[in-house]
């Protein structure tokens, strides 16, 4: 067990956003977190990294290999961020800085967390770009995000997340902002990296089609609570909770396998 979230509660401005969430992530497994917008799935992901909006109050536990993250001092937490737990955001057009080169954004936290030299960091960055299948990695290192397509940008964002060999990857709607045609490629990449590197992946998505394509486990959230958890095949074929059934029924057709 890599990451264990227990009874996580979050209130923002007196409003209950999360009301006791339990989740566990295992190495080499993709855990899908489904639910409609406002159900609290993105907040769960942000809470792990301590990136909740200003004025949020958090209780409960988030343990990374037995170490409690919620009570870590800021400096220690910064080492966990990017170093042990990394995140991929929804829209690569806005989550990469438009005025910094791809190489800069790939190497700066490597050098900070891992203490690599310029050349070492560069070699590793190019290797990462190859790993996420960016054509012409050497060339791409020097370019800016706006010179890439959306799908390529998300691959770069994934490379950035993987740069410091994290144990946990939180992917918040990683394909929602992409063209349908490139979604499958990015998902296959995520799945492959998860298997190859033994990552524990939390895949936050509202898209049950995405979920069925890559997730090992599936949790369904509603109103700040996890209403159902289990292996993908069971949850998607024989849902226990009525809400999961409504979600499945709202899909256009039986595109769930």
């Amino acid at each position: 067990m890599t990451l264990a979230i227990t009874d996580l509660k979050v209130t923002i401005g007196g409003k209950d956003i999360l009301r006791g969430v339990d989740l566990t992530l295992e190495p080499g497994r993709v855990h899908g977190l489904a639910g409609e917008s406002g159900s609290g799935k993105t907040m769960t992901g942000l809470a792990v990294l301590g990136l909740l909006p200003h004025g949020s109050r958090v209780t409960g536990g988030i343990a990374l290999e037995g170490r409690e993250l919620l009570t870590l001092p800021p400096k220690e937490l910064n080492k966990v961020r990017g170093g042990e737990v990394a995140m991929v955001f929804q829209d690569p057009a806005t989550s990469l800085h438009p005025m910094l080169t791809v190489g800069r954004q790939l190497t700066e936290h490597m050098r900070h967390h891992l203490g690599l030299g310029r050349a070492e960091a560069r070699d590793r960055a190019v290797e990462l770009l190859r790993k996420v299948r960016i054509p012409g990695a050497e060339e791409a290192y020097r370019r800016y995000p706006h010179q890439f397509s959306g799908g390529m940008r998300q691959r770069i964002a994934i490379a950035v997340a993987l740069a410091c060999s994290p144990k946990v990857l939180i992917a918040d709607e990683p394909t929602t902002a992409l063209d349908v045609t490139v979604q499958a490629g990015v998902l296959r990449l995520l799945r492959g990296l998860c298997d190859e590197l033994g990552l524990a992946v939390l895949l936050v998505t509202h898209d049950l089609g995405v979920m069925s394509a890559v997730a090992d486990e599936v949790s369904v959230m509603k109103d700040g609570l996890v209403v159902e958890t289990g292996p993908r095949s069971r949850v998607l074929r024989e849902p226990d909770h009525p809400y999961t059934r409504t979600l499945l029924a709202s899909l256009p057709d039986a595109e769930v396998s």
Partner: protein, 356 residues
Amino acid sequence: MEKGAAVTPPRPRRPALPPLARFLIRRVLMAILLAWGVTLVTFVLTNLVPGDPVAANLGQRAMNDPEIVAQWRAEHGLDKPLWEQYGLYLQGLVQGDLGDSQQSHRPVSQDLAEAVPATLELAGAAILISLVLGVAFGVIAALRRDRLSDHLLRLVSLIGISVPTFWLALVAFYVFFYRLQITPGSGRVDPALGAPPPVTGLHTVDALLAGQWDVFGSAAGHLITPALVLALYTIGLLTRFTRSAVLEVLGQDYVRAARAKGLPGRVILFRYVLRSALVPVITVAGLAFGSLLSGTVLVEAIFAWPGIGQYAYKSATTLDLPAVMGVGLVVGVVYLVINLIVDVLYGVIDPRVRLR
């Protein structure tokens, strides 16, 4: 800038020049075109106005003598048709001749050569002060949003943009020179020391170049009060603008992504937040420089600073048309250069402008 996109030449198949150079050349060509436009405007403006330069320059008695009036007009080329006057003016302009001032009886270019560096020194010092303080205040206010320091800075910046410059100049003169006697009075440098050997025309820089420390001290002492007075307005402007620019950037996804990468706060602030926030701030700083030039007219009067503001005032009130046109041209060109600098900085900072 919008126009820049419209006149972009079709891209050659193999670019002979690096993108930044092509970007620069395009901007410079546009600036030259606009400079010509500025001469046309100044000319039309100074000739459309109903005021009569003859009356302003000759006494009432001389005005009653048609012969003197006619002679004066002929002397200054005012008897020719307008288009011919403009042609002659342009012809002279190409050779660096801006005509003679009717007041000082010297070539306008010579007058301007003395006045422009004085004002550039003043306005340059003021814009430096306002950039440093304005950006710093704006960043602090944004980072401490809705706390006491934010409210205080907001109040101070609002006062900054609300103070009448001419009044503030007078108050500063009274308090620091007359009462406290901690600043030298008017002028650019202590007359006993004399101006440093001219290189750039900026007394502080020239004194440093010549190694004259006492002159530098005197020049800097004379500069600091008017520059601060002039800067207050732009400090307020830049504080307000930087604050909102930084707040906007702080809400961007890439800042959250940078925090998710575990980068230290100062790296995020300087590399991620300021880089983006400074792009709009540069535009405002360019505009602010314009308002500084406006302010010089009022500040120079109080501190007896022999700059373009005073010269403009004197030539406008006496309808000294060649001098007014000279001022218009110089000020217009300064504006164009500032815009050019802003455009180039845009290209340097933002790769999306530089590389398509």
